[in-house]
C-alpha cells in the first residue's frame, strides 16, 4: 500500500478560483516521486496541502489525503498536526528564511526531537550532533552554537536536511530544495538528499521544475499543468517517450549542454492552447 495517497484533491482561492483540480497521486513507502510543472502549476501547493500549511488565501475544498492509511482531513486539528509532525517533514526551498535567524542552530534541531519524539534534551543534543555529522558537516559542535547568518547557503541546506530527517519521518516533501543554491552546491545537495533517503528508507515527494534533476533522484513522476495532473508515469518511460503532448514539449524544452542555444526551445503556442482547452473542458465537467 502506498504511504501517501492523494485522491481528487481540490484547492481553491477564497474567491473560488481553482489552484488544484482533482489531483490524485501516490507515493510508495521508500519511493522517490518527482512533481514537475512550470511556475504556478501548483506543485508546491500539493506539498503544502499535505503538510497542513496552505496559505491563508487558499482553501481545501475536496478530496482525501491518506498518510500511512489514515485520512488526515477527517482528523481533528490537533491530532492531525501530531500525525503530520510524526510522519512527515519538509525540506524547504529557501535555506535563508527556513532557519530562525535569532536562534542558534543546535536548539532548532533539538526542538524537533523534543517536540515530536518527546526526548530529553541531552539525548536530543547527542542525536543532533550525529545528524550534522551524517550530512557531512565538519565540526558539528561549533555549528550547533552558530547563528544561521554565520553559515553559507549550502551549509544551511544541509542543516535543514538533517533536521527534516531528525525525527525519522517516513515521508519527506522537498520543495525545490536546490533552487536557491548555486550549481556546484546543487549537485552536492541532491546527492546528499538521495543518500539520506536511501539510508533512512524514506518516501520522498520531490517538487522541482528541473527535468535534469528528475532523472537523477526519482523513480516516478507526476507532471502538473494549471493544477491538473497531465501525466503520471515512471521516469524511464517518461524520458523514452512521454505520453502527453505537453510533456513531450516540456522535455524538448530542456536545454542540452552540448548545444545550449540551438536546444533552447520554448513550449509551442499550439500545445499551450491545447492543454489550456483540456483544463477548461475538465473544469466544465467538474462544475457541470
Amino acid at each position: 500500500m502506498s504511504y501517501l495517497a492523494i485522491k481528487d484533491l481540490t484547492v481553491r482561492l477564497k474567491n473560488g478560483v481553482p489552484l488544484l483540480r482533482k489531483v490524485s497521486l501516490e507515493v510508495e513507502a521508500g519511493e522517490v516521486r518527482a512533481l514537475v510543472g512550470e511556475s504556478g502549476a501548483g506543485k508546491s501547493m500539493i506539498g503544502k496541502a499535505v503538510l497542513g500549511i496552505l496559505p491563508r488565501a487558499a482553501r481545501l475544498t475536496g478530496g482525501k489525503i491518506l498518510l500511512d492509511g489514515e485520512d488526515l482531513l477527517t482528523l481533528p486539528p490537533k491530532a492531525r498536526r501530531e500525525r503530520i509532525g510524526a510522519k512527515a517533514a519538509l525540506i524547504p526551498q529557501d535555506p535563508l528564511t527556513a532557519l530562525n535567524p535569532s536562534r542558534r542552530i543546535g536548539p532548532q534541531i533539538i526542538d524537533r526531537l523534543v517536540d515530536i519524539l518527546g526526548w530529553k534534551r541531552p539525548k536530543a543534543e547527542a542525536r543532533a550532533l550525529e545528524l550534522l555529522d551524517e550530512v557531512h558537516i565538519q565540526d558539528p559542535g561549533r555549528v550547533m552554537k552558530s547563528y544561521p547568518h554565520e553559515l553559507s547557503g549550502g551549509m544551511r541546506q544541509r542543516i535543514l536536511i538533517a533536521s527534516a530527517f531528525a525525527a525519522e519521518p517516513k515521508l519527506i516533501i522537498a520543495d525545490e530544495p536546490t533552487t536557491a543554491l548555486d550549481v556546484t552546491v546543487q549537485k552536492q545537495i541532491l546527492k546528499l538528499i538521495r543518500e539520506m533517503q536511501e539510508r533512512h528508507q524514506t518516501a520522498l515527494l520531490f517538487v522541482t521544475h528541473d527535468l535534469g534533476v528528475v532523472s537523477k533522484v526519482s523513480q516516478t513522476l507526476t507532471v502538473l499543468y494549471a493544477g491538473k495532473v497531465i501525466e503520471d508515469t515512471n521516469v524511464r518511460a517518461f524520458f523514452e517517450a512521454p505520453a502527453h503532448a505537453y510533456s513531450q514539449a516540456l522535455l524538448a524544452a530542456t536545454p542540452k549542454y552540448t548545444d545550449p542555444d540551438g536546444s533552447l526551445m520554448p513550449v509551442p503556442e499550439s500545445i499551450i492552447t491545447a492543454v489550456e482547452q483540456e483544463v477548461a473542458a475538465f473544469d466544465a465537467q467538474l462544475n457541470g
Partner: protein
Amino acid sequence: MPDARGQIRRLPGLRLWLSGGWLLLLVLAAIFAPMISPHDPLEQDLFAARLPPFWEQGADPAYLLGTDSLGRDLLSRMLYGARLALTVALVAGTLTCLVGATLGLIAGYYRGWADLVISRLVDIWMAFPPVLFAILLIAVLGTGLTSIIIAIVVIDWTRFSRVVRAEAMSQGAMDYVASAQVAGRSRLGIALAEILPNVLPTIVALLTLEMGIAVIVEAILSFVNLSISTDQPTWGGMIAEGRTSIYQAWWVLVFPLFALFLTVLSFSQLGEGLKDYFDPVLR
C-alpha cells in the same frame, strides 16, 4: 564557515556611552534626591528670589543653579523632578510596551478577525490628536501619577501595535514558521518561541523611544497644570513657571528644559544602540 558579518562586533560607540551615562546620573539623582539636595525643594525664601546661577554676578553659592521667583532652589527641584520623570518613563513606557506589543503580535501572527478588530481600533485611535486626548483623559480620570500613567498607556499603545504587527506579519511568512508548524508546534508556541525573538530588537528600540515620549507627555501635562499636585516639583511645571519670568530669570526655564531635552535624546539614542545589541545579525 562564518562570513565577515560575524566578525564585525559593533563597538557600543560614544553616543551609547553618553546617553547611558546621562540616564545613569539621572537614576542616581532620583534615588538619592533627599540626601544630595542642598535645600528643601518646596522651601520658599522671598529674600532669595530669582538668584542667578553660580557663574553670574550676584549669585549665592548656596544656590548653585539659582532660585525661581519664589526663592526655591532650582537644583533641588530638578533633582526631585527627575524622580517623577523617571517613574513615568519606566512605568508608563513598560506598560505601554506590554499592551501594545501583545496586541500587535496577536494581530500580526494570528491575523483573521483579531487582526481586523485590532487594526481598526488602531486606525480610530490614531485619528485623535494625542495631546487633546491626554488632556481629555486627565479631565476624566483626575490628576495624579496613576492617571498620567494610564493616559500615556491608553494613548500610545498604538505606536507599538502598528510596528510589531507589521514585523510579526513578515516573520510569520518565513519558512521557519512553516517548518515549526509541520513539526506540530502550537500557534502560541510559535508566536512566543519563534516570532517574538525576531521582533524583540524592534520592541526594545521602541520601548526606549516610548520612555522618552512618556517624559515629554508628562512635561506637557505639567505645563498645562494637569499633572500631579503643584506641591511636587516636576520639570514640566518648572518650565511653565519659568515661562512667566523668562526676561527676568532665564535660568528658571532653561535648566529644566535642558534636562528634559537631554533625557529624551538619551532614551532614543540608547534604543538605537540596544537594537543593534539585540540583533544577532549585527551583534
